[in-house]
Protein backbone atom coordinates (compact mmCIF):
# COMPACT_ATOMS: atom_id res chain seq x y z
CA UNK A 1 0.00 0.00 0.00
CA UNK A 2 1.32 3.42 -0.92
CA UNK A 3 1.38 5.85 1.96
CA UNK A 4 1.18 9.55 1.33
CA UNK A 5 3.12 12.03 3.42
CA UNK A 6 0.63 13.83 5.69
CA UNK A 7 1.58 17.17 4.17
CA UNK A 8 0.01 16.01 0.93
CA UNK A 9 -3.41 15.45 2.44
CA UNK A 10 -4.71 19.03 2.29
CA UNK A 11 -3.67 19.29 -1.34
CA UNK A 12 -5.16 15.92 -2.19
CA UNK A 13 -8.41 16.74 -0.43
CA UNK A 14 -8.61 20.06 -2.23
CA UNK A 15 -8.07 18.26 -5.51
CA UNK A 16 -10.88 15.85 -4.60
CA UNK A 17 -13.18 18.80 -3.81
CA UNK A 18 -12.57 20.29 -7.21
CA UNK A 19 -12.88 16.90 -8.92
CA UNK A 20 -16.14 16.21 -7.09
CA UNK A 21 -17.65 19.53 -8.10
CA UNK A 22 -16.44 19.10 -11.65
CA UNK A 23 -18.19 15.73 -12.16
CA UNK A 24 -20.34 16.03 -15.29
CA UNK A 25 -24.00 16.27 -14.45
CA UNK A 26 -23.31 17.40 -10.94
CA UNK A 27 -25.69 20.23 -10.34
CA UNK A 28 -25.29 20.33 -6.62
CA UNK A 29 -29.00 19.62 -6.37
CA UNK A 30 -28.53 16.59 -4.22
CA UNK A 31 -27.18 15.75 -0.82
CA UNK A 32 -24.30 13.34 -1.03
CA UNK A 33 -24.25 10.94 1.85
CA UNK A 34 -25.97 13.13 4.40
CA UNK A 35 -29.45 13.51 5.81
CA UNK A 36 -31.63 16.17 4.24
CA UNK A 37 -31.92 19.51 6.01
CA UNK A 38 -34.75 19.75 8.52
CA UNK A 39 -37.75 21.66 7.16
CA UNK A 40 -37.84 23.76 10.26
CA UNK A 41 -35.72 24.50 13.32
CA UNK A 42 -36.70 26.12 16.61
CA UNK A 43 -34.61 29.27 16.78
CA UNK A 44 -35.87 30.11 20.27
CA UNK A 45 -34.59 26.81 21.62
CA UNK A 46 -31.66 26.03 19.36
CA UNK A 47 -29.69 23.03 20.64
CA UNK A 48 -26.29 24.39 19.69
CA UNK A 49 -24.22 27.50 19.66
CA UNK A 50 -24.83 30.90 18.08
CA UNK A 51 -21.74 32.23 16.33
CA UNK A 52 -20.90 35.67 17.71
CA UNK A 53 -19.12 37.01 14.67
CA UNK A 54 -21.15 39.28 12.42
CA UNK A 55 -20.02 39.55 8.80
CA UNK A 56 -21.20 42.92 7.52
CA UNK A 57 -22.24 42.83 3.86
CA UNK A 58 -20.13 45.05 1.62
CA UNK A 59 -21.97 47.89 -0.14
CA UNK A 60 -21.54 46.06 -3.46
CA UNK A 61 -24.06 43.43 -2.31
CA UNK A 62 -26.86 45.95 -1.93
CA UNK A 63 -25.68 47.90 -5.01
CA UNK A 64 -26.04 44.70 -7.05
CA UNK A 65 -29.73 44.50 -6.14
CA UNK A 66 -30.30 48.18 -6.79
CA UNK A 67 -28.80 47.73 -10.25
CA UNK A 68 -31.27 44.91 -10.94
CA UNK A 69 -34.24 47.03 -9.81
CA UNK A 70 -33.19 50.25 -11.45
CA UNK A 71 -30.27 51.80 -13.24
CA UNK A 72 -29.09 54.49 -10.89
CA UNK A 73 -26.69 57.13 -12.11
CA UNK A 74 -23.84 55.87 -9.99
CA UNK A 75 -21.57 58.72 -11.07
CA UNK A 76 -23.92 61.13 -9.34
CA UNK A 77 -23.49 59.08 -6.16
CA UNK A 78 -19.71 59.55 -5.98
CA UNK A 79 -18.90 62.23 -3.45
CA UNK A 80 -15.24 61.90 -2.59
CA UNK A 81 -14.72 64.66 -0.03
CA UNK A 82 -11.81 67.05 -0.13
CA UNK A 83 -8.98 65.89 2.05
CA UNK A 84 -9.60 67.46 5.41
CA UNK A 85 -7.65 67.27 8.59
CA UNK A 86 -9.82 65.90 11.34
CA UNK A 87 -6.82 65.04 13.48
CA UNK A 88 -5.14 61.73 14.00
CA UNK A 89 -7.82 60.15 16.17
CA UNK A 90 -7.68 56.49 15.18
CA UNK A 91 -11.41 55.88 15.58
CA UNK A 92 -12.11 58.66 13.06
CA UNK A 93 -9.43 57.31 10.71
CA UNK A 94 -10.96 53.83 10.91
CA UNK A 95 -14.46 55.11 10.15
CA UNK A 96 -13.11 57.19 7.28
CA UNK A 97 -11.21 54.22 5.90
CA UNK A 98 -14.43 52.18 5.74
CA UNK A 99 -16.29 55.02 4.04
CA UNK A 100 -13.49 55.52 1.50
CA UNK A 101 -13.64 51.85 0.55
CA UNK A 102 -17.41 52.21 0.16
CA UNK A 103 -16.77 55.23 -2.08
CA UNK A 104 -14.62 52.88 -4.13
CA UNK A 105 -17.52 50.45 -4.47
CA UNK A 106 -19.74 53.31 -5.69
CA UNK A 107 -17.09 54.28 -8.23
CA UNK A 108 -16.90 50.68 -9.46
CA UNK A 109 -20.65 50.70 -10.06
CA UNK A 110 -20.12 53.93 -11.98
CA UNK A 111 -17.21 52.30 -13.88
CA UNK A 112 -15.22 55.45 -13.23
CA UNK A 113 -11.48 54.67 -13.33
CA UNK A 114 -10.39 58.24 -12.54
CA UNK A 115 -12.30 58.28 -9.26
CA UNK A 116 -11.15 54.76 -8.42
CA UNK A 117 -7.54 55.81 -8.91
CA UNK A 118 -8.03 58.80 -6.60
CA UNK A 119 -9.67 56.56 -4.02
CA UNK A 120 -6.92 53.94 -4.30
CA UNK A 121 -4.35 56.62 -3.49
CA UNK A 122 -6.41 58.07 -0.64
CA UNK A 123 -6.89 54.60 0.81
CA UNK A 124 -3.12 54.17 0.90
CA UNK A 125 -2.57 57.59 2.50
CA UNK A 126 -5.10 56.75 5.18
CA UNK A 127 -3.50 53.37 5.73
CA UNK A 128 -0.20 55.19 6.32
CA UNK A 129 -1.87 57.30 9.00
CA UNK A 130 -3.14 54.10 10.59
CA UNK A 131 0.33 52.52 10.38
CA UNK A 132 -0.92 49.84 7.98
CA UNK A 133 0.61 51.03 4.72
CA UNK A 134 2.69 47.93 4.04
CA UNK A 135 -0.39 45.69 4.30
CA UNK A 136 -2.53 47.95 2.12
CA UNK A 137 -0.04 49.00 -0.57
CA UNK A 138 -0.37 45.84 -2.72
CA UNK A 139 -4.16 46.14 -2.67
CA UNK A 140 -4.06 49.83 -3.47
CA UNK A 141 -1.82 49.19 -6.48
CA UNK A 142 -4.06 46.31 -7.64
CA UNK A 143 -7.15 48.52 -7.36
CA UNK A 144 -5.57 51.17 -9.55
CA UNK A 145 -4.24 48.66 -12.08
CA UNK A 146 -7.52 46.74 -12.32
CA UNK A 147 -9.49 49.95 -12.82
CA UNK A 148 -7.15 50.96 -15.64
CA UNK A 149 -7.87 47.57 -17.20
CA UNK A 150 -11.59 48.10 -16.54
CA UNK A 151 -11.68 44.79 -14.70
CA UNK A 152 -14.51 45.83 -12.37
CA UNK A 153 -14.90 42.44 -10.71
CA UNK A 154 -11.24 42.50 -9.78
CA UNK A 155 -11.55 46.05 -8.39
CA UNK A 156 -14.48 44.92 -6.24
CA UNK A 157 -12.49 41.91 -5.01
CA UNK A 158 -9.52 44.11 -4.16
CA UNK A 159 -11.66 46.67 -2.33
CA UNK A 160 -13.16 43.85 -0.26
CA UNK A 161 -9.66 42.42 0.32
CA UNK A 162 -8.33 45.85 1.32
CA UNK A 163 -10.98 46.27 3.96
CA UNK A 164 -10.50 42.71 5.15
CA UNK A 165 -6.72 43.07 5.36
CA UNK A 166 -7.04 46.23 7.42
CA UNK A 167 -9.61 44.67 9.73
CA UNK A 168 -7.58 41.48 10.19
CA UNK A 169 -4.42 43.46 10.91
CA UNK A 170 -6.27 45.57 13.46
CA UNK A 171 -7.66 42.43 15.11
CA UNK A 172 -4.19 40.90 15.28
CA UNK A 173 -3.10 44.06 17.09
CA UNK A 174 -6.06 43.51 19.45
CA UNK A 175 -7.75 46.57 18.04
CA UNK A 176 -11.13 44.92 17.49
CA UNK A 177 -12.97 48.18 18.16
CA UNK A 178 -11.20 49.88 15.29
CA UNK A 179 -11.88 46.92 13.03
CA UNK A 180 -15.60 47.22 13.71
CA UNK A 181 -15.46 50.95 13.01
CA UNK A 182 -14.05 50.22 9.55
CA UNK A 183 -17.14 48.09 8.87
CA UNK A 184 -19.43 50.75 10.32
CA UNK A 185 -17.89 53.49 8.16
CA UNK A 186 -18.37 51.36 5.05
CA UNK A 187 -21.92 50.39 5.90
CA UNK A 188 -22.85 53.99 6.67
CA UNK A 189 -21.53 55.38 3.37
CA UNK A 190 -23.19 52.56 1.45
CA UNK A 191 -26.49 53.09 3.25
CA UNK A 192 -26.36 56.82 2.63
CA UNK A 193 -25.91 56.53 -1.13
CA UNK A 194 -28.60 53.85 -1.37
CA UNK A 195 -31.09 56.02 0.52
CA UNK A 196 -30.26 58.93 -1.80
CA UNK A 197 -31.07 56.85 -4.86
CA UNK A 198 -34.21 55.35 -3.37
CA UNK A 199 -35.44 58.75 -2.16
CA UNK A 200 -35.04 60.05 -5.72
CA UNK A 201 -36.99 57.18 -7.29
CA UNK A 202 -38.96 55.46 -4.55
CA UNK A 203 -40.41 51.96 -4.78
CA UNK A 204 -41.34 49.50 -2.05
CA UNK A 205 -39.02 46.88 -3.52
CA UNK A 206 -36.08 49.22 -3.26
CA UNK A 207 -37.08 50.48 0.19
CA UNK A 208 -37.06 46.91 1.48
CA UNK A 209 -33.28 46.86 1.00
CA UNK A 210 -33.00 49.05 4.07
CA UNK A 211 -34.57 46.40 6.28
CA UNK A 212 -31.39 45.71 8.23
CA UNK A 213 -32.29 45.92 11.93
CA UNK A 214 -29.83 43.16 12.86
CA UNK A 215 -26.88 45.10 11.47
CA UNK A 216 -27.91 48.36 13.14
CA UNK A 217 -28.32 46.54 16.43
CA UNK A 218 -24.85 45.03 15.98
CA UNK A 219 -23.28 48.43 15.35
CA UNK A 220 -25.07 49.94 18.35
CA UNK A 221 -23.72 47.16 20.56
CA UNK A 222 -20.24 47.73 19.15
CA UNK A 223 -20.30 51.41 20.05
CA UNK A 224 -21.84 50.72 23.46
CA UNK A 225 -18.96 48.35 24.26
CA UNK A 226 -16.26 50.84 23.22
CA UNK A 227 -13.83 51.88 25.92
CA UNK A 228 -11.17 54.54 26.12
CA UNK A 229 -11.05 58.10 24.89
CA UNK A 230 -12.74 57.43 21.57
CA UNK A 231 -15.88 56.14 23.29
CA UNK A 232 -16.55 59.59 24.74
CA UNK A 233 -15.68 61.57 21.62
CA UNK A 234 -18.43 63.83 20.26
CA UNK A 235 -18.26 62.10 16.86
CA UNK A 236 -18.77 58.61 18.28
CA UNK A 237 -21.57 59.84 20.54
CA UNK A 238 -23.28 61.51 17.58
CA UNK A 239 -22.97 58.34 15.50
CA UNK A 240 -24.41 56.26 18.34
CA UNK A 241 -27.37 58.63 18.52
CA UNK A 242 -27.77 58.47 14.76
CA UNK A 243 -27.84 54.67 14.83
CA UNK A 244 -30.57 54.77 17.48
CA UNK A 245 -32.60 57.07 15.21
CA UNK A 246 -32.07 54.82 12.20
CA UNK A 247 -33.12 51.81 14.26
CA UNK A 248 -36.28 53.53 15.46
CA UNK A 249 -37.38 54.11 11.85
CA UNK A 250 -36.45 50.68 10.55
CA UNK A 251 -37.96 48.83 13.52
CA UNK A 252 -41.40 50.35 12.88
CA UNK A 253 -43.76 47.64 11.59
CA UNK A 254 -44.77 47.81 7.94
CA UNK A 255 -43.06 48.97 4.78
CA UNK A 256 -40.62 51.84 4.80
CA UNK A 257 -42.41 54.79 3.20
CA UNK A 258 -40.77 57.42 1.00
CA UNK A 259 -40.68 59.83 3.93
CA UNK A 260 -38.90 57.19 6.04
CA UNK A 261 -36.26 56.77 3.37
CA UNK A 262 -35.67 60.52 3.25
CA UNK A 263 -35.21 60.53 7.01
CA UNK A 264 -32.76 57.62 6.78
CA UNK A 265 -30.86 59.55 4.09
CA UNK A 266 -30.66 62.72 6.18
CA UNK A 267 -29.72 60.95 9.39
CA UNK A 268 -27.00 58.89 7.70
CA UNK A 269 -25.69 62.03 5.99
CA UNK A 270 -25.50 63.79 9.36
CA UNK A 271 -23.59 60.84 10.80
CA UNK A 272 -21.12 60.90 7.90
CA UNK A 273 -20.60 64.63 8.46
CA UNK A 274 -19.09 63.74 11.82
CA UNK A 275 -16.04 62.21 10.14
CA UNK A 276 -16.27 62.04 6.34
CA UNK A 277 -18.23 64.79 4.65
CA UNK A 278 -17.72 68.45 5.34
CA UNK A 279 -20.38 69.78 7.68
CA UNK A 280 -22.61 72.45 6.13
CA UNK A 281 -21.46 75.95 7.08
CA UNK A 282 -24.43 76.65 9.36
CA UNK A 283 -23.90 73.41 11.29
CA UNK A 284 -20.27 74.14 12.18
Amino acid sequence: MIEMPPSLFPAVRRALVVAFLAVPGWSGAQDAGTAAAPERIDLSNFPGEFVDKVVVPIPAEIFAVLDKLDEPDWNSGIQLPEENDRGGERSILALTFGSLVAEGFISVQAKNPEEIEKIGKRVLELAESLGLASAVRPHSLSIIEASKNRDWGKVRDELDATQQTVRTTMEKLRDDELSELVSLGGWLRGTNVVTEFIANAYSEDKAELLNQPGLISHFRETLAKMRGLAAGSPAIRAIATGLARLEAIIAEPGELAEEDIKQLRDISRGMLEEFYFEKPAEAK
Binding site: G33, E39, E49, K53, V55, P57, D160, D205, E208, N211
Partner: protein
Protein backbone atom coordinates in the same frame (compact mmCIF):
# COMPACT_ATOMS: atom_id res chain seq x y z
CA UNK B 1 27.89 22.06 16.24
CA UNK B 2 27.83 24.61 19.02
CA UNK B 3 24.90 24.66 21.44
CA UNK B 4 23.47 28.01 20.29
CA UNK B 5 22.77 27.03 16.65
CA UNK B 6 21.48 23.70 17.95
CA UNK B 7 19.01 25.40 20.31
CA UNK B 8 18.00 27.76 17.54
CA UNK B 9 17.38 24.83 15.22
CA UNK B 10 15.21 23.11 17.86
CA UNK B 11 13.31 26.34 18.51
CA UNK B 12 12.68 26.85 14.80
CA UNK B 13 11.62 23.24 14.39
CA UNK B 14 9.12 23.53 17.27
CA UNK B 15 7.88 26.84 15.91
CA UNK B 16 7.45 25.29 12.48
CA UNK B 17 5.54 22.31 13.89
CA UNK B 18 3.30 24.48 16.06
CA UNK B 19 2.77 26.91 13.22
CA UNK B 20 1.84 24.05 10.94
CA UNK B 21 -0.66 22.63 13.41
CA UNK B 22 -2.29 26.00 14.09
CA UNK B 23 -2.33 26.91 10.41
CA UNK B 24 -3.86 23.59 9.43
CA UNK B 25 -6.44 23.87 12.16
CA UNK B 26 -7.61 27.38 11.48
CA UNK B 27 -7.08 28.08 7.81
CA UNK B 28 -7.49 24.74 6.12
CA UNK B 29 -11.26 24.69 6.76
CA UNK B 30 -11.65 28.07 5.06
CA UNK B 31 -9.35 26.90 2.30
CA UNK B 32 -11.60 23.90 1.66
CA UNK B 33 -14.71 26.07 1.72
CA UNK B 34 -13.08 28.37 -0.83
CA UNK B 35 -12.14 25.42 -2.99
CA UNK B 36 -15.79 24.34 -2.94
CA UNK B 37 -16.69 27.88 -4.05
CA UNK B 38 -14.29 27.91 -7.00
CA UNK B 39 -16.63 26.46 -9.68
CA UNK B 40 -19.33 28.97 -8.74
CA UNK B 41 -17.05 31.95 -9.28
CA UNK B 42 -17.11 31.04 -12.95
CA UNK B 43 -20.90 31.28 -12.76
CA UNK B 44 -20.64 34.90 -11.66
CA UNK B 45 -20.68 34.57 -7.88
CA UNK B 46 -18.54 37.11 -6.06
CA UNK B 47 -17.01 35.42 -3.03
CA UNK B 48 -16.54 37.60 0.03
CA UNK B 49 -13.20 37.92 1.75
CA UNK B 50 -14.75 37.92 5.20
CA UNK B 51 -15.83 34.60 6.64
CA UNK B 52 -16.66 32.65 9.76
CA UNK B 53 -14.45 29.99 11.31
CA UNK B 54 -13.65 28.31 14.58
CA UNK B 55 -13.68 25.03 16.40
CA UNK B 56 -16.64 23.01 17.59
CA UNK B 57 -17.40 19.72 19.28
CA UNK B 58 -18.44 17.06 16.77
CA UNK B 59 -22.18 17.02 16.18
CA UNK B 60 -22.86 20.32 17.95
CA UNK B 61 -24.82 22.56 15.57
CA UNK B 62 -23.68 26.13 14.99
CA UNK B 63 -25.94 28.97 13.95
CA UNK B 64 -24.65 32.01 12.06
CA UNK B 65 -26.82 35.11 11.69
CA UNK B 66 -26.45 36.93 8.41
CA UNK B 67 -28.14 39.74 6.50
CA UNK B 68 -29.32 38.80 3.02
CA UNK B 69 -30.91 40.99 0.35
CA UNK B 70 -33.89 39.98 -1.76
CA UNK B 71 -32.82 40.18 -5.39
CA UNK B 72 -29.44 38.56 -4.82
CA UNK B 73 -28.68 34.86 -5.07
CA UNK B 74 -26.37 33.37 -2.45
CA UNK B 75 -24.23 30.29 -1.98
CA UNK B 76 -22.74 29.42 1.40
CA UNK B 77 -19.88 26.92 1.46
CA UNK B 78 -18.50 25.13 4.51
CA UNK B 79 -15.35 23.11 5.11
CA UNK B 80 -13.62 21.11 7.83
CA UNK B 81 -10.09 19.81 7.51
CA UNK B 82 -9.90 17.00 10.04
CA UNK B 83 -9.39 13.73 8.12
CA UNK B 84 -12.54 11.64 8.24
CA UNK B 85 -14.75 14.49 9.50
CA UNK B 86 -17.87 15.58 7.61
CA UNK B 87 -19.74 18.86 7.44
CA UNK B 88 -23.25 19.99 6.50
CA UNK B 89 -24.70 23.42 5.94
CA UNK B 90 -28.35 24.58 5.76
CA UNK B 91 -30.09 27.94 5.74
CA UNK B 92 -33.27 29.11 7.50
CA UNK B 93 -35.34 32.26 7.61
CA UNK B 94 -36.11 34.20 10.78
CA UNK B 95 -39.07 31.89 11.46
CA UNK B 96 -36.81 28.84 11.34
CA UNK B 97 -38.10 27.59 7.97
CA UNK B 98 -35.58 25.97 5.65
CA UNK B 99 -34.97 28.18 2.61
CA UNK B 100 -32.14 26.28 0.95
CA UNK B 101 -32.95 25.71 -2.72
CA UNK B 102 -30.22 23.18 -3.35
CA UNK B 103 -27.34 21.77 -1.43
CA UNK B 104 -24.48 19.35 -1.48
CA UNK B 105 -22.44 17.70 1.22
CA UNK B 106 -19.44 15.52 0.52
CA UNK B 107 -17.17 14.64 3.41
CA UNK B 108 -15.12 17.70 4.30
CA UNK B 109 -17.06 20.31 2.35
CA UNK B 110 -20.67 21.30 1.72
CA UNK B 111 -22.73 24.08 0.21
CA UNK B 112 -26.25 25.50 0.18
CA UNK B 113 -27.91 27.96 -2.20
CA UNK B 114 -30.58 30.49 -1.30
CA UNK B 115 -32.67 33.05 -3.13
CA UNK B 116 -34.11 35.20 -0.32
CA UNK B 117 -37.79 36.04 -0.60
CA UNK B 118 -37.30 39.06 1.60
CA UNK B 119 -34.47 41.28 2.79
CA UNK B 120 -33.82 40.18 6.35
CA UNK B 121 -31.58 38.31 8.76
CA UNK B 122 -31.20 34.63 7.91
CA UNK B 123 -29.67 31.78 9.89
CA UNK B 124 -27.03 29.43 8.52
CA UNK B 125 -26.73 26.14 10.38
CA UNK B 126 -23.43 24.27 10.27
CA UNK B 127 -22.85 20.80 11.69
CA UNK B 128 -19.39 19.22 11.67
CA UNK B 129 -19.33 15.54 12.60
CA UNK B 130 -16.75 12.94 13.36
CA UNK B 131 -17.61 9.35 14.12
CA UNK B 132 -14.38 7.39 14.15
CA UNK B 133 -12.27 6.93 17.24
CA UNK B 134 -9.07 5.24 18.33
CA UNK B 135 -8.23 2.06 16.50
CA UNK B 136 -10.85 2.64 13.87
CA UNK B 137 -8.65 5.30 12.37
CA UNK B 138 -6.27 4.65 9.55
CA UNK B 139 -2.83 6.16 9.75
CA UNK B 140 -3.91 8.71 7.17
CA UNK B 141 -6.93 9.71 9.24
CA UNK B 142 -4.72 10.17 12.27
CA UNK B 143 -3.23 12.92 10.14
CA UNK B 144 0.41 12.14 10.77
CA UNK B 145 2.96 9.39 10.81
CA UNK B 146 2.80 8.94 14.58
CA UNK B 147 5.45 11.61 15.11
CA UNK B 148 5.15 12.44 18.77
CA UNK B 149 2.69 11.84 21.56
CA UNK B 150 -0.46 13.85 21.17
CA UNK B 151 0.18 15.03 17.62
CA UNK B 152 -2.22 13.57 15.08
CA UNK B 153 -4.70 12.35 17.68
CA UNK B 154 -8.24 13.66 17.49
CA UNK B 155 -8.26 16.73 19.76
CA UNK B 156 -11.96 16.54 20.64
CA UNK B 157 -12.97 19.53 18.53
CA UNK B 158 -13.25 20.03 14.79
CA UNK B 159 -12.25 23.05 12.79
CA UNK B 160 -14.90 24.61 10.59
CA UNK B 161 -15.08 27.48 8.15
CA UNK B 162 -17.84 29.13 6.13
CA UNK B 163 -17.54 31.51 3.19
CA UNK B 164 -20.26 32.93 0.98
CA UNK B 165 -20.80 34.42 -2.41
CA UNK B 166 -23.53 36.45 -4.08
CA UNK B 167 -24.61 37.46 -7.55
Amino acid sequence: MSSRPCLLAIFLAVLFLLGGVVHAFVNEAISLALEAATPYVEQGFEVREDNWSGEVEPGKPLLIRHQLFRGNEYWFWAGTSWPGATIKIDIFDSEGNSVGLESFAKDSFAGVRALPQKTATYFIRVVASYEKKGKGLTKAERGANDPVDGVGEFPGVLDWGVVYGYR
